[in-house]
């Protein structure tokens, strides 16, 4: 599938110089650039659509968006998962208005066209109005996406039939992802519902905050940290033993102290739980990853998913125009955790990173005002500074990806915008440079690779 947009062919490289470390603010506010993002990034990337645990049984479904395209994600009788446009091929009406549920059929409200959970057209109200030859049932189902993939429970879909496999898309970043998705036998699940909120900010501000902006935490979240920590501010960061790692626009920033995010969750029982399973985690993922997990850390998967390993909030920034996104958040836990630990995690997440959480409450307005201030035509032509730590790139013998030393850094943000630029610029996936070249090789299972030195 190719989705051409007629007319504009701007040179997006003039909106940034990542070697110098600056971005043009128009990428956060310009309506034409936003439209182009929908075509070139959202219609071509692998996009997160669900955790498989949200739709465990045949007929389970949920509704979400891929870019601004509304989709239904549905579990099939054979256990597979289908993703299809939530729009009727008759006049285009939205077909399903529920957030989630279980059903045998999706029936359109307008004229009663009825589809099964695979999206196939099965019948309609007053079917006799169509003569033989008027309608080909086979070709009038809900349009399915080009590909659906599942990485350790996270279900992704893409409209792009030319997209590489999901494994190749995630690439070496799987080594990092395994820390949250595979740190214990049994994998993960989402528990509780989904919280949705609308934020008047550009979607990229949410992604870049989680991909690398450890720097804001000590200042923005000062009040939250102090209220949870007997008046003490955020502890200083160990710049020698903390890192940014970037793989094709995905990124993870992290310390190696093992406890920071678990502490911020504010639920001692959860800390105890992870300390108990840590030796097993080390057997499973190797020493380095067992030290990283639980540290002060945050991560994003290109283009629009983020999470905090250890704090267990998982979220997606859904674009809704250049100056608005819808934030969806879930709680992710290990499936094999005892129920009381799962409940502790849920409590902790809501108290810290729910919309009424002590940390979450500080973020939204910053992103909103970083965005809306660009309504000013002079303001929007000013550059933004992304140069922090630009000279701190290192070769690390364990950590895959483009690695920078020091958690306070703009390195992952620069990696994210580099990938953004690559996708906005290149028509063909094959021509897009790998950043960096894959280091772990074409392995099926990255969990068992302790790191680079083992290769």
């Amino acid at each position: 599938m190719r989705f051409e947009r007629i007319g504009r062919e701007p040179d997006y490289s003039r909106y940034m110089d990542l070697k110098e470390g600056w971005l043009d603010r128009r990428i956060f506010s310009d309506a034409d650039i936003y439209e182009e993002e929908l075509y070139r990034i959202f219609a071509r990337s692998w996009l997160f659509v669900a955790h498989e645990s949200q739709i465990p049984s045949s007929g389970d479904f949920l509704t979400t968006h891929m870019g601004e395209d509304a989709v239904i994600v549905a579990r099939q009788p054979d256990g597979s998962i289908r993703v299809m446009l939530n729009s009727c091929p008759h006049r285009g009406n939205k077909v399903c208005f529920a957030d989630a549920g279980n059903t045998r059929r999706f029936v359109c409200n307008y004229h009663g066209w009825a589809f099964d959970t695979a999206g196939d057209l099965k019948g309609m109200h007053e079917e006799y109005c169509y003569d033989a030859g008027d309608i080909d049932f086979k070709n009038h189902g809900l349009k399915n996406v080009a590909k659906v993939g599942n990485y350790k429970g996270l279900v992704f879909a893409t409209f792009n039939s030319d997209a590489p496999s999901l494994e190749a898309w995630l690439g070496d970043f799987r080594w990092y992802l395994d820390m949250i998705l595979d740190n214990e036998e049994g994998g993960t699940e989402f528990i509780g519902g989904c919280i949705k909120s609308v934020i008047s900010a550009n979607w990229k501000f949410g992604v870049e905050n989680f991909i690398g902006d450890a720097y804001h935490a000590g200042w923005t979240h000062d009040s939250g940290t102090r209220s949870m920590n007997n008046g003490q501010p955020f502890p200083p960061i160990d710049m020698d033993n903390s890192y940014h790692a970037s793989v094709n626009g995905h990124g993870w920033e992290f310390g190696t102290e093992g406890v920071g995010d678990l502490f911020l969750l504010g639920r001692p029982k959860v800390m105890d739980y992870y300390n108990k399973i840590r030796p097993k985690m080390e057997e499973r993922l190797g020493e380095m990853r067992s030290k990283i997990f639980g540290s002060v850390a945050s991560a994003s998967i290109f283009p629009n998913v983020s999470f905090l390993p250890g704090i267990s909030t998982f979220r997606q920034w859904q674009p809704k125009g250049p100056m608005q996104f819808e934030l969806k958040t879930w709680v992710i836990v290990n499936k094999n955790m005892p129920d009381d630990i799962k409940e502790e995690v849920t409590k902790g997440v809501m108290q810290t990173f729910g919309p009424g959480g002590t940390f979450e409450m500080d973020d939204g307005e910053n992103w909103e005002n970083c965005t809306t201030v660009n309504r000013g035509v002079v303001t929007r032509h000013e550059r933004l500074h992304y140069r922090c730590g630009i000279g701190r790139q290192i070769e690390h013998d364990t950590l895959p990806g483009i690695v920078y030393r020091g958690q306070y850094n703009d390195a992952n943000q620069r990696g994210f915008y580099q990938r953004w630029l690559d996708m906005m610029t290149h028509d063909e996936f094959g021509k897009m440079p790998a950043r960096p070249e894959p280091q772990l090789g074409n392995v099926a299972e990255t969990r068992d690779l302790p790191g680079l030195f083992a290769l």
């Binding site: 957030d99 549920g101 279980n102 949705k196 000062d222 209220s227 849920t346 002590t358």
Partner: protein, 175 residues
């Protein structure tokens, strides 16, 4: 379970509890958080559950750990929230936001034990943020209030927020 309907509470009780609701809203609007905390029982529970939009005929079972909550607070947690607000480090509240609460549709119902009442009310919250943007939130509330030492104290509040997508970037406000 009660086996017989209870007589409605005396008019004085209805007036006193309704006044308590109005007073509570005024204290919060004026950021008199200590005054508000003094209106809460020691055992207060303060909850806001998540909702999700489902078909009426939906066949799926309830989620194993419930729908999730936005607030599930006890007195200690509410005090922590107040401490945070008073810390002087909440940049998003400085200069202050303007919040105005309107309480209405108040129904005061008798319950057991005798010194408690169940109260339904509707809250409309108007927030004018530091950047000048305005948001309007509405919620239904079901409370338990208890008469203790001559005052009515809030001991339980279940909040139902009327928005499937929160129209605001945070819920940094008490309902």
């Amino acid at each position: 379970m009660l086996d017989r309907p209870l007589a409605p509470p005396p008019v004085e009780v209805i007036v006193a509890v309704t006044q308590a609701l109005h007073r509570e809203a005024r204290l919060l609007d004026n950021e008199d958080f200590e005054g508000w905390l003094a209106m809460l029982g020691k055992d207060v529970s303060y909850r806001l559950e998540l909702k999700s939009r489902r078909f009426r005929a939906d066949r799926s079972p309830p989620l194993p750990f419930g729908p999730g909550v936005i607030f599930n607070e006890d007195l200690g947690r509410l005090k922590m929230r107040v401490d945070r607000l008073k810390s002087g480090f909440v940049w998003a509240e400085d200069p202050p936001n303007y919040i105005r609460r309107a309480v209405s549709n108040v129904e005061v119902l008798a319950t057991q034990p005798d010194n408690e009442v169940r109260v339904h009310s509707v809250l409309v919250m108007h927030r004018n943020r530091i950047d000048g943007t305005t948001r309007l939130l509405t919620a239904g509330r079901t409370d338990l209030w208890r008469s203790e030492g001559g005052a009515w104290l809030l001991t339980a509040r279940e909040i139902v927020l009327d928005h499937s997508v929160l129209p605001d970037s945070n819920l940094n406000a008490f309902f």
